[in-house]
Symmetry: C2
Subunit: 332 residues, 2 copies
Amino acid sequence: MIATPYLIFLGDAKDALAAKTGQGIVDWRPDWALGQLRFPECRADLGIADMNIAEAVAAGAKTLVIGTVSPGGVLPESWSELICEAMSAGLDIASGLHTPLASIASIRATSTRLDRKLFDVRLPQQSFTVGSGERRTGKRLLTVGTDCSVGKKYTALALEKAMLEHGMNADFRATGQTGILIAGGGIAIDAVVADFISGAAEWLTPAAADDHWDVVEGQGSLFHPSFAGVTLGLLHGAAPDAFVVCHEPTRTSMRNVDTALPTISQVIEMTCALGALVNPDIRCVGVAINTQQLSEDRALTLLAETAADLYLPVTDPVRFGVDNIVSELLQF
Amino acid sequence: MIATPYLIFLGDAKDALAAKTGQGIVDWRPDWALGQLRFPECRADLGIADMNIAEAVAAGAKTLVIGTVSPGGVLPESWSELICEAMSAGLDIASGLHTPLASIASIRATSTRLDRKLFDVRLPQQSFTVGSGERRTGKRLLTVGTDCSVGKKYTALALEKAMLEHGMNADFRATGQTGILIAGGGIAIDAVVADFISGAAEWLTPAAADDHWDVVEGQGSLFHPSFAGVTLGLLHGAAPDAFVVCHEPTRTSMRNVDTALPTISQVIEMTCALGALVNPDIRCVGVAINTQQLSEDRALTLLAETAADLYLPVTDPVRFGVDNIVSELLQF
């Protein structure tokens, strides 16, 4: 686990979108977002206190988190000095970039000399065993998608938040780099060696108290030809009791490929068919539709039509929250 | 590609089973199996000429292949000297053991100094891109299984052999370490990073002449909770036109787990349902049943019953060959 709270480093982020990792931490873990550190040319602003390294350490920061994406995921040379300064001041470092922190000689040397931890959240931090398929105590919910990038992480985080507000016992389980920085831990499941996908997902969602829910961030789609293997390994490892289908209604084909989009019903049927192998009780408990591209009227109509069609709670988590899905979960 | 022909090194193999990789090469690629090199205490015999390194090099050998399994897949220290000698005499080295050849200092140094190739066939030799899901010219057949270790490699090799005998244009495509040593190339698909499973399988089965068949070695099972992600990624990457279901009729549960076995029909249905995403023409062309545990009478009855039930060619490739399945393929 990454030590909290964080000082969020934004470097010279060009715009708010470049700082979306940092924004995710502020949105979902505000207590951990102690301050932001920005270069003068930075054009993003997370709306939290600006701090230098000394101020952040004095305020209790434990880790410098790189909260911005750089072109190609490369760690700019110009950041190394600041990262080494942060370690000298006592901070660990966490990064979701492609460049491993330890591949930069000065960063590696400083971390070894001072015994600071480097978290490259794209890289698995441990080895796994193959999945066992065994039932475990506790309950699990997985977000699945008609496609990639349809709001699976957002929906899982929104569900965790609403479940906690309803007094439920729930933990978000991150499976991608942004999710890991938000959660302070997790596994970038698509970076695991193929043999261990379901084993890694079992490790991420261990046996727990009967009333406990793991709310697992889904990846890819069973209907995406690039990533369906990852999606299925995650489904078998998480062995969910409940799943929520996430959907973006304006897509015309699967992201980055020519494959046709599945319907929400097809995703529900296939997820049940394949998930039943490890959990015969699996069922769909709701649908999350990203209606950002639609007017509010059109969005409400689409949600109502989909709900009538599927006999399930349907919502846009960003616009209308997820209380209707949580009501379904409270009946488990 | 691993240079052929091979000198097959058996070390001190305890019995014939320990030498099954070497036996596979002799069975399926007899022209490449130039000779065997055995320590005095070796109790396996591939039935080919015994040769020392100098004799093998004089006879034209290009690669020393480790044709035996050691306990835990560890490379015994006592083999390093012989491996280095082989490189000094001009041979490359290929191994399917867990210990990477280059992790032994003397082997690494000798290979660098003499520019000899080291093939650790469990480790991917190159990086891949994510799968595209695009149709390619040429035809593809994939062996799939009701479970792991039910004869998918054997069936694919038997099909390739029979297809070539029938004048068809076919290539076996290896996806596991033994298959790679038999084929002289391929990808250990379960060792690829999860994100690239289907991309690696696409790389293994590139666009080809319209009459060409890739005969792809399957892995795992869509119904095995440890490995189904690998199986699905391979299915999507290989995008088969045809598949053969392999089955072992005496199993009582899936290998190494408590999961119930699927029926052959369930495997056919699920493979079609998932494979249609990338190839709507996918269909089952036969069933291969491993009847080793059954009397010949019982075996023949089971094959006939299964064929009547499924309206498909059914055989035991070891006992009765695969001509009935090849007849089906000739009609494509």
